[in-house]
């Protein structure tokens, strides 16, 4: 055999099934763009109106800045409290939902199902549910963030636990340490970077989503934004949007600094 014959082909010839599947996927993407009402002409027609709106927004109106900042603080408090409580609940749930630490298959499946349910139901649906059950205001928002955090952190905590080096865990099991001691002395310290990462991402996510939650009455700055937009007070809306931007940036920078310090 010559050496040229031994060189594999640059590209493998696709099978008939994978070719048909690729064509179907491309067709479905194009079909989805049509179904989504995507229209370049409508976008171009809307551009002047976007310009007008931006013109109305600037300069931002800061006459109500104190109440806006109060609502902003409320939003952050909602996000922080919801994240802390959500992370606290996610920790035991993450253990039960991890293949390596769960005490049994039934517990594992139930924990995974609960985490998946919390994650797959959208935030706004949870917010509507809690507004309907506990009433308008920040408590409904906090409950929503707790559930959202459990869905997010529960999954990532479980995966973080599954990915750790199991050597230290084996070493402690080998000397007869109890299951709780093994968790606290080996599993949690090893999974800590993953926990911290997930919890901080969760906080950033909670700050962003708590703004939206206000739009359905779950408290915070979202309520202020909705009122400003409904009353055509676009310059006040601009102040609110800029304040939200500052809050999100500050939280992201802070969490990046904490991450750098701890990991």
């Amino acid at each position: 055999m010559s050496s040229a014959e031994a060189v594999p082909a640059r590209f493998e010839r696709p099978s008939l099934v994978s070719l048909a599947f690729s064509i179907f996927v491309i067709w479905f993407i194009l079909y989805s763009l049509k179904g989504a009402g995507f229209s370049v002409s409508a976008f171009l027609e809307g551009l002047p109106r976007m310009g007008e709106l931006l013109d109305d927004m600037f300069p931002p109106d800061v006459s109500r800045i104190s109440s806006i900042w109060k609502a902003l603080l409320e939003t952050f408090q909602m996000a922080l409290a919801g994240t802390v409580l959500g992370v606290s609940l996610s920790l035991p749930l993450g253990v039960l939902a991890s293949r390596t630490q769960s005490p049994g298959k039934i517990t594992y499946t139930l924990a995974r199902l609960l985490v998946s349910f919390c994650r797959t139901v959208p935030n706004l649906v949870w917010a509507l549910f809690f507004v309907a059950t506990v009433g308008l205001g920040t408590f409904a928002g906090t409950l929503t963030i707790i559930v959202d955090t459990v869905g997010f952190c529960g999954r990532f905590f479980a995966e973080g636990i599954e990915e750790i080096d199991r050597g230290p865990e084996e070493a402690l099991k080998a000397i007869g340490a109890g299951p709780l001691a093994v968790l606290c002395c080996a599993v949690f310290p090893l999974a800590l970077p993953s926990f911290v990462n997930s919890a901080l991402f969760s906080l950033e996510k909670a700050v962003r989503s708590s703004v939206v939650l206000g739009l359905v009455g779950a408290g915070g700055i979202g309520v202020e934004l909705k009122v400003a937009m409904d009353m055509f007070r676009y310059s006040e809306a601009a102040t609110i949007i800029l304040s939200i931007f500052v809050l999100v940036i500050v939280v992201e920078r802070l969490s990046a600094a904490i991450r750098k310090q701890l990991l």
């Binding site: 230290p168 000397i175 007869g176 001691a181 002395c185 800590l192």
Partner: protein, 264 residues
Amino acid sequence: MSAKVALKQNHIQQHLAVKRADLKVCNLKKSFSGKEILRDVSFKICSEEAVSLIGANGSGKSTLIRCCLRLIEPDGGRLEFFGQDLMLANQRGLRKIRSKVGFVSQKHNLVPRLSVLSNVLHGALAYQRSPRLWFQGFAPSVLREKAMHCLELVGLQDFGSRRADHLSGGQSQRVAIARALMQQPEFIIADEPVASLDPQAGDEVMELFVSLVRKEKITLLFSSHNLDHAIKYSDRILGLRNGEIEIDTASSGQSAFTLRGFYE
């Protein structure tokens, strides 16, 4: 079998009959995906004896060692530690027996983010269930001092507050030995304890390890690819080939050259 080896084995049998057997393994079996790794493995280790386990890669040494503590569940056979049947023990009973057996592995298996002192203190989890032991900051003073004493024994008394992942390989293994000593075990099982160290560090750590074990009168089973270590540091050598014990002989009088033939 030569007359010399037969004489030695006879001597070993007499020795086993007199001393208490700390570990008895009878007809131990283990398969993975239909492949037999251990086939009817049987041996005894007496109190205060040091036994080395040799064998080529894939011969089943690590599996045997883990099966002895039921870190891997054997498929069959009997295991007795200190006269107690390990195979019949429930989780609580298993923990009780394990608490008397130290385990040192090739990878050291320290918790990297925690301090050296915390890692050593974890050895006391074998006999103290208190959550205060989870972090050195909360541990009782008596145990903190004891952990520092164990670190002193391995020459790392100045490393207590250092993070475990900031240590060299030799230092990590010394900390793992200190953790095993903290446990106050009656028996130590070591799976290739110096395999990840360079020859000089390996010799130093092995010398320290075995001298401490001898001083504390702890029974020892260790696996090694280093035949000189097997001869120098053990009273008896077990040779595992294809999942079976093929050699069970006193180490005195053996040479690395003759034992090397076992790997062919």
